[in-house]
């Protein structure tokens, strides 16, 4: 049973960046695993190296010490089975919604087939943007733009979805709505999700497990399993257990900040 390797594994990972003003230790001794199809939120103060975790997993950077592995294999370069959603949607302003979603395959291979376009339209419908295929990003609201960003990340049908504070630029209502939307997509087509956020309630509401990071140099200081029933929705946020989790995490973060 424990022979299948975890989707993501960090063991003794340290990360030191060389900057103009000297060495910057972003991570020190990070140990953690994320299981297959698990939804894990990473919570922590700003500048604690949360995004570094994500970039290490994606293979964009290599750890200074320790190993990062994906499905049991050390990460040596970016992989095809990982999709990334950024904090800002960062779409191509000259391309319509469909072209933006197809972009990864056009960028990787140089061409997009009719089949790719058909796939893109299915995903666009899945993220709730049917009918908007021909619109330009500038014609969409912030929430809709981020839906396109998610569709783009899902397009290559990745096993792992890395999300770097994807909803932090949205207003509170849209943010909550997008969270539930993400859960709906994830439940319909399970994937391993690493979800970086600095919103405690968002982390608890969405994730199976919340990892809390310390301030720099970042390491994991809390590993909290969120035992709330799924599917989750608006009623989840009213449950007492939800408040207990949020209260516990807030206390932990405030104590560390003090």
């Amino acid at each position: 049973m424990s022979t299948t390797p975890p989707a993501i594994g960090f063991s003794g990972v340290g990360q030191v960046f060389r900057t103009a003003s000297g060495a910057l230790e972003a991570l020190r001794g990070v140990d953690m695993t994320i299981g297959r199809h698990e939804f894990v939120a990473v919570l922590g103060p700003s500048g604690c190296g949360k995004s570094t975790l994500l970039r290490l997993t994606s293979g964009l950077i290599r750890p200074t010490s320790g190993t990062v592995s994906v499905f049991g294999l050390p990460v040596a370069e970016p992989r095809d089975d990982i999709g990334i959603v950024f904090q800002k949607p960062t779409l191509l302003p000259w391309a319509n919604v469909e072209d933006n979603v197809v972009f990864p395959v056009r960028h990787k291979t140089g061409r997009g087939t009719a089949e790719d376009r058909a796939n893109a339209r299915v995903i666009i419908e899945k993220v709730g943007l049917a009918g908007f295929e021909a619109r330009l990003p500038a014609e969409l609201s912030g929430g809709m733009q981020q839906r396109v960003g998610i569709a783009r990340a899902l397009f290559m049908n990745p096993d792992i979805l890395l999300m770097d504070e994807p909803f932090s630029a949205l207003d509170a209502l849209t943010r909550e709505e997008m969270g539930f939307e993400l859960l709906r997509i994830w439940e319909a087509q399970p994937k391993t999700v690493m979800f970086i956020t600095h919103s405690i309630s968002e982390a608890v509401l969405l994730a199976d497990r919340v990892l809390v990071m310390s301030e720099r140099p970042g390491h994991i200081v809390e590993n909290l399993v969120i035992d709330l029933p799924r599917p989750r929705g608006i009623e989840t946020s009213n449950q007492k257990a939800m408040h207990d989790y949020v209260g516990h995490l807030r206390g932990l973060l405030l104590k560390r900040a003090a």
Partner: protein
């Protein structure tokens, strides 16, 4: 409380539309695009004409607009076209050559920090050299014909193109570069599909500046050595004290620059509408 608030708002917002009909005419005048500058222009021309007549300003100091109009008749239409074409040809060839040179240079500068540090100071030196001063040297070195004039036009236009394009290539959102790297896409597609399109707004602002600079370059070259062209015509006219003719040449030159500028702006509007800043009310 609420009642009085509402009535205060409605009483203060209603009158301007209903009670003052004269206001709507002046508003129409101010809001109609182009009308205000056109009116200003007509006013300046009228004051100019009146001053020249009233104070009897000699025409070699400042010819009246009516006399300048006469200056257009001094040469035949076909001769005018010859002059315009001579200047336009050099300006356009130099301009397109400059684009062809500066885009690859910008891509190289944006890609390699070492090359950027090696080449950039030289570009600044070239840019700091006054084109008017170097023009005679280039003419002597390259002889007569279009070649030296095209080189001079290139010299004056390429710096803004290189600098602006390089800035644009570097201004791409880092997330998209990370996306490109995470897809392990070839560098050439990172440039053609992400960096160059993102640089379009920067490239066009430089293209608009450079097209007017190209006309300046062509004219400067004609000042030094030419037997045709608007620059040559202006210099020739002044040497003969035909100042109203020189003014006519100058007006044609300004119109030429404006038309070229508007063509570049139209190309951006038609083919790259997304690259224009979004209009706000």
């Amino acid at each position: 409380m609420t009642m009085s608030d509402t009535s205060a708002v409605s009483s203060s917002s209603a009158p301007p539309e209903a009670a003052m009909p004269g206001r709507s005419w002046s508003q129409w005048f101010v809001r109609t695009p182009g009308l205000l500058p056109a009116a200003t222009f007509v006013a300046i021309v009228l004051v100019w004409e009146a001053s020249c007549r009233l104070f009897e300003i000699p025409s070699f100091v400042l010819p009246a607009p009516s006399r300048i109009l006469g200056g257009f008749d001094a040469v035949s239409t076909s001769r005018w076209f010859e002059h315009v074409w001579a200047t336009l040809r050099v300006a356009l060839i130099g301009y397109f050559l400059s684009i062809a040179i500066s885009l690859p240079i910008a891509i190289i500068l944006a890609r390699s920090e070492i090359l950027s540090r090696a080449v950039y100071p030289i570009l600044v030196v070239v840019q700091s050299t006054p084109v008017v001063a170097i023009a005679p040297i280039i003419i002597v070195a390259l002889g007569s014909g279009d070649t030296p004039r095209i080189v001079i036009t290139c010299l004056i236009t390429f710096f803004p193109l290189v600098v602006s394009t390089t800035t644009g290539l570097m201004a791409t959102p880092p997330e998209l570069i990370e996306l490109s790297r995470s897809l392990r896409a070839p560098v050439i597609r990172e440039i053609t599909q992400i960096r160059l399109p993102f640089a379009i707004p920067y490239i066009f602002s430089a293209l608009k500046i450079s097209v007017t600079l190209a006309v300046i370059g062509a004219v400067v070259a004609e000042f030094v050595a030419a037997d045709k062209g608007l620059g040559y015509f202006i210099q020739f006219s002044t040497s003969m004290f035909q100042v109203q003719q020189a003014w006519a040449g100058l007006i044609v030159l300004v119109l030429l620059s404006l038309v070229l500028f508007q063509i570049v702006a139209a190309v951006q509007r038609i083919w790259f509408p997304w690259s224009l800043p979004t209009e706000r009310e």
